[in-house]
């Protein structure tokens, strides 16, 4: 009764037989063992389960694993490269953008989408960009500062990179 899916997660290809009703978030957590993607509601309201799905931020509790067949997924575990934190991760750290950390992976990936669409967002844009992700600890202000920090860091790195070419 299972179905075979092939999914690329953080650059690695996986093949599994899954039940049709298995949620993508449970597939990532329970089958693959990537527990950095959290569950805060299972009803697409909190954003804790946000992952990048073919580059777009999606709530992985709203998808079945079978819908991910052929997709490329990035979870929080796949964001740092060669042990180097992604600028958004660094921003959350430097600006104290997290307390309990439960919303954080989802928040970081939502911010990732926001910055890919709008590299220099205003406070308003950031607030709207993370509106689908709930945080009960931080009051959001340090998250906004974290995202600004990341935007700046990405910009500087890009310009630096462009100059050196």
């Amino acid at each position: 009764m299972g179905r075979t899916i092939e999914v690329t997660i953080n650059g690695l290809l996986y093949r599994h037989d899954v039940e049709p009703r298995l949620l993508l978030v449970h597939y990532l957590r329970d089958v693959i063992g990537l527990t950095g993607t959290h569950i805060g509601c299972e009803t697409s309201l909190c954003g804790a389960c946000t992952v990048l799905f073919n580059g777009a931020a999606v709530k992985s509790c709203t998808l079945f694993a079978v819908q991910a067949d052929g997709a490329e997924i990035t979870t929080i575990e796949g964001l740092a490269e060669n042990g180097q934190l992604h600028p958004i991760q660094e921003g959350f750290w430097m600006k104290h953008g997290l307390q309990c950390g439960y919303c954080t992976p989802g928040m970081i990936l939502a911010a990732h989408q926001l910055l890919s669409r709008s590299p220099d967002p205003s406070e308003e844009e950031i607030r709207r960009g993370i509106e689908g992700n709930l945080c009960r600890c931080t009051g959001y202000q340090h998250i906004i500062e974290a995202i600004r920090y990341a935007a700046e860091k990405i910009r500087v790195t890009r310009e630096g990179g462009a100059r050196s070419k």
Binding site: I76, H96, Y102, E131, C135, R136, G139, Q141
Partner: protein
């Protein structure tokens, strides 16, 4: 000694694992042969259980076992309540319901299956025959004649009546020029930590040891209680609080599921995991607030408040959880707030209702006190035609009056309330705003300025005042390589004590932050502790770390003197990680060398034990009393009732600050939870006791777009209660901000003659009030 770390905005040491997705919350824990539990909960608020038929569920695919209340009643003791009030009625609270259910969400049966989907499938196959009874949900109705009785054995829904008096309240009212009174509601709230609760339990039959991983704020207290519930020796029970995704008081408890899952693991001989769904979290994790108050103030024309009389009803819900009855007593203790009000009478009636229990929720009784009083201050100002600032300033005690005795019997440790309010007024530009408000009113625009000055009771607290002790413990263990391990009895879950404590250690021992590791939350590793709540972890737990450090330093200095061949220990100084002779600084040793020597033990002074570690249990002599002033500026749109923030200024005094980043984070988070209460959140049960706001769709916690930019500032008045001068800051925002925001909205509505509205102030309510005026 050079202070490199304390006081600095150091990014947190705990963050790396959290931002890379490598931390372990309960649901991330997997054990070999683990199975999953799911719970059937009552769909009625009040009903007799005629039959619970589990046969079909037992036969369902993948099901390993099903248990009902009758199956476990002998094996698992009742859910405990720790607070003791005079004549408190304590209903029996079984982990799975027996003859009756008393609220929607009460556990009735548990299924264990091979995976979480199968467990949930089987829960749906349990057939329950209910005989519905009339429910009582409104606490005022509950204590009136003829109400349905939640627990028949008591014949009443009054669980307790608690009174507190100070001064001469009758005289205050006799001498008053004016009496101002107001009835107000502090609505029921749902804490909504982003991580729901969860438990994993594993039994090792060889060792006879049960390990319980649970999302808790109090691992040690929980262990003691679970040992009693399960009839286990406490030293065969290991409770681990892994990464905990927020608590806010809702995980400061002992829950039925924690004992139940432990029992299942022992009974079935397999590790068992239970993870709460968000729906369950709304239904059966403790709620907060739920007070109704009638407040009367006896005042003089100049705004001096002579006395306050409170009649409070606390909605308890159906059962007592760990601290349910104690929470409103904190409201009573703080009923005179930051003011010199010599006469007080408080009466609190605790009412059983067919709802989930209320218990600690960020602030726990103190936000209620501050809300009542700060609303009253504005009502008094309104009645007397005075500026709200004037009324507050008139009633503050002077800085030299500290320690300041209150009519409720407390002694406030230190404070300068005038200064905090003046600072907030300066920052917000108070006088100008008042002028602008006048001008805008001419144009039909409604600006509101809301002030809240508060004092809170923190660093809970001296042991006599707390049911299970109010001290905290720490072990500082210097390893042979000079690395330092701290074992703290506090149980941080987002507050950042791994960093704050490492800062204290690094400065005291002259090591780097990276040399320090702070371990918490595992009862098999850490000495007994009390846990994290009541803004106590840093003020009490941090002081315990400090105390242990002094012992370690003393021993290390003694040893260094010996190794340096110095008879006179007083001639040995310790600075920046080096011991040296004061009169000959060339003769020196590093801290690392001394640590190693302590373990190699080749050359110890007579009578000195090998090793270098110390444990310290800190018992505070008093609570601490942080304070501050918040000012909210809003504009209300009279067409829509919409509230727009213009400014939000917070001046908090939490004593000495170890790490301003952490303090700001706590203040921001607290203010936003407050904003939720003021404008958005309310747990609504319908008349039959169904929780209408049972999901995040109906219960609105603040989103990023609901929140204004917060301008925070501080004054710093050290507490004399502990050597670090810390007061605590975990709840300040939640305590201060609710009345500031509500006062701002009502200030905006003053031209319409609206004197008071109950929270949450959603646009519709405001719009109606404007129309009604």
């Amino acid at each position: 000694m050079g202070k490199k770390f304390v006081g600095e905005p150091i990014p947190r040491v705990e963050d790396h694992r959290l931002i890379t997705g490598r931390s372990q919350y309960v649901d991330d824990i997997v054990r070999p042969r683990m199975v999953y539990a799911a719970i059937l909960r009552s769909i009625y608020a009040h009903a007799r259980l005629k039959a619970v038929n589990v046969e079909k569920a037992r036969q369902a695919p993948g099901v390993i076992a099903v248990f009902t209340g009758a199956d476990v009643r002998e094996a698992i003791g009742p859910v405990p309540v720790a607070s003791r009030l005079p004549d408190l009625k304590i209903p029996k609270h079984p982990v799975l319901a027996l003859e009756k259910v008393h609220y929607v969400g009460e556990p009735i049966a548990v299924v264990v299956a091979g995976d979480r989907y199968l467990a949930r499938d089987a829960v749906d196959m349990i057939e329950v025959e209910y005989e519905p009874l009339e429910a009582v949900v409104d606490p005022e109705r509950a204590i009136a004649e003829g109400a349905p009785i939640v627990h028949e054995e008591f014949g009443t829904n009054v669980a307790f009546v608690w009174r507190l008096s100070g001064g001469d309240i009758e005289r205050a009212f006799r001498e008053a020029d004016v009496v101002v009174s107001q009835r107000m509601v502090n609505q029921r709230l749902i804490p909504v930590a982003m991580e729901p609760r969860g438990v994993v339990a594993e039994y090792l039959p060889g060792e006879g040891q049960l390990t319980v991983w649970t999302s808790t704020q109090i691992p040690h207290l929980l262990r003691t209680q679970l040992a009693t519930m399960l009839g286990l020796a406490e030293n065969r029970l290991r409770v681990i609080a892994p990464e905990v995704g927020g608590g806010f008081g809702s995980k400061l408890n002992v829950y039925a599921e924690e004992a139940l899952v432990g029992y299942l693991a022992m009974r079935l001989g397999r590790p068992v995991k239970w993870i709460e769904t968000r729906r369950e979290n709304f239904l059966s994790t403790t709620h907060g607030r739920g007070q109704i108050a009638e407040v009367e103030a006896a005042v003089k024309r100049d705004g001096t408040v002579l006395g306050l009389r409170y009649k409070i009803i606390q909605d308890l819900g159906a059962y007592h959880q760990l601290l349910t009855p104690a929470i409103p007593t904190l409201t009573g203790l703080m009923a005179t707030g930051p003011y010199k009000i010599p006469n007080l009478h408080v009466q609190i009636v605790g009412a059983f209702t067919n709802k989930m229990a209320t218990d600690a929720y960020r602030g726990a009784g103190r936000p209620e006190a501050t809300y009542w009083l700060e609303r009253m201050m504005d009502r008094i100002a309104g009645e007397l035609g005075l500026d709200p600032v004037q009324v507050r300033m008139r009633n503050f005690p002077q800085p030299e009056e500290f320690p300041f005795p209150t009519a409720s019997g407390l002694a406030y440790d230190s404070g300068n309330y005038h200064q905090a309010l003046r600072r907030a007024m300066e920052l917000v530009g108070y006088e100008k705003l008042r002028q602008e408000q006048q001008q805008l009113r001419q144009q039909g625009r409604y600006l509101g300025i809301g002030i809240s000055t508060y004092v809170e009771i923190c660093a809970l607290g001296p042991s006599p005042a707390l049911p299970a002790g109010g001290w905290e413990s720490a072990t500082v263990r210097v390893e042979p390589t000079g690395k330092v391990t701290v074992l703290t009895g506090a149980s941080p879950h987002g507050q950042g004590q791994e960093t704050a404590f490492a800062q204290i250690v690094a400065d005291e021992l002259g090591v780097e932050l990276a040399d320090v590791r702070v371990i918490h939350g595992d009862t098999a590793i850490v000495q007994y502790g009390i846990g994290t709540f009541g803004s106590r972890a840093t003020a009490v737990g941090g002081t315990a770390v400090y105390g242990a450090l002094q012992k370690v330093k003393e021993k290390a200095t003694h040893l260094a003197a010996h190794l340096l061949g110095e008879e006179n220990v007083a001639n040995v100084a310790f600075e920046d990680g080096h011991f040296f002779l004061k009169d000959n600084p060339e003769r020196r040793m590093t801290f690392h060398e001394v640590a190693l020597a302590a373990y190699l033990a080749k050359n110890l002074p007579p009578g000195v034990e090998p090793g270098l570690e110390a444990t310290y249990f800190f018992e505070p002599s008093n609570f601490t009393f942080p304070f501050g002033a918040h000012i909210a500026v809003v504009e209300v749109d009279p067409e829509t009732g919409d509230v727009q923030f213009r400014r939000y200024v917070a001046v908090d005094d939490c004593g000495r600050v170890l790490n301003p980043l952490l303090v700001d984070g706590q203040v921001h988070g607290g203010i936003v939870q407050s904003l939720g209460q003021a404008l958005l959140e309310e747990a609504v049960y319908d008349e039959s006791g169904q929780l209408v706001t049972g999901e995040l769709t109906e219960y609105a916690i603040p989103k990023a777009t609901d929140v204004p930019w917060l301008e925070t500032d501080r004054t710093e008045t050290p507490s004399p209660v502990n050597p670090l001068g810390i007061k605590g800051v975990g709840e300040a925002g939640t305590i201060a901000a609710t009345p500031a925001i509500v006062n701002a909205v009502l200030d905006a509505l003053a031209p319409f003659g609206v004197q008071h509205l109950d929270m949450p102030l959603r646009p519709e309510k405001i719009w109606r009030a404007i129309r009604g005026a």
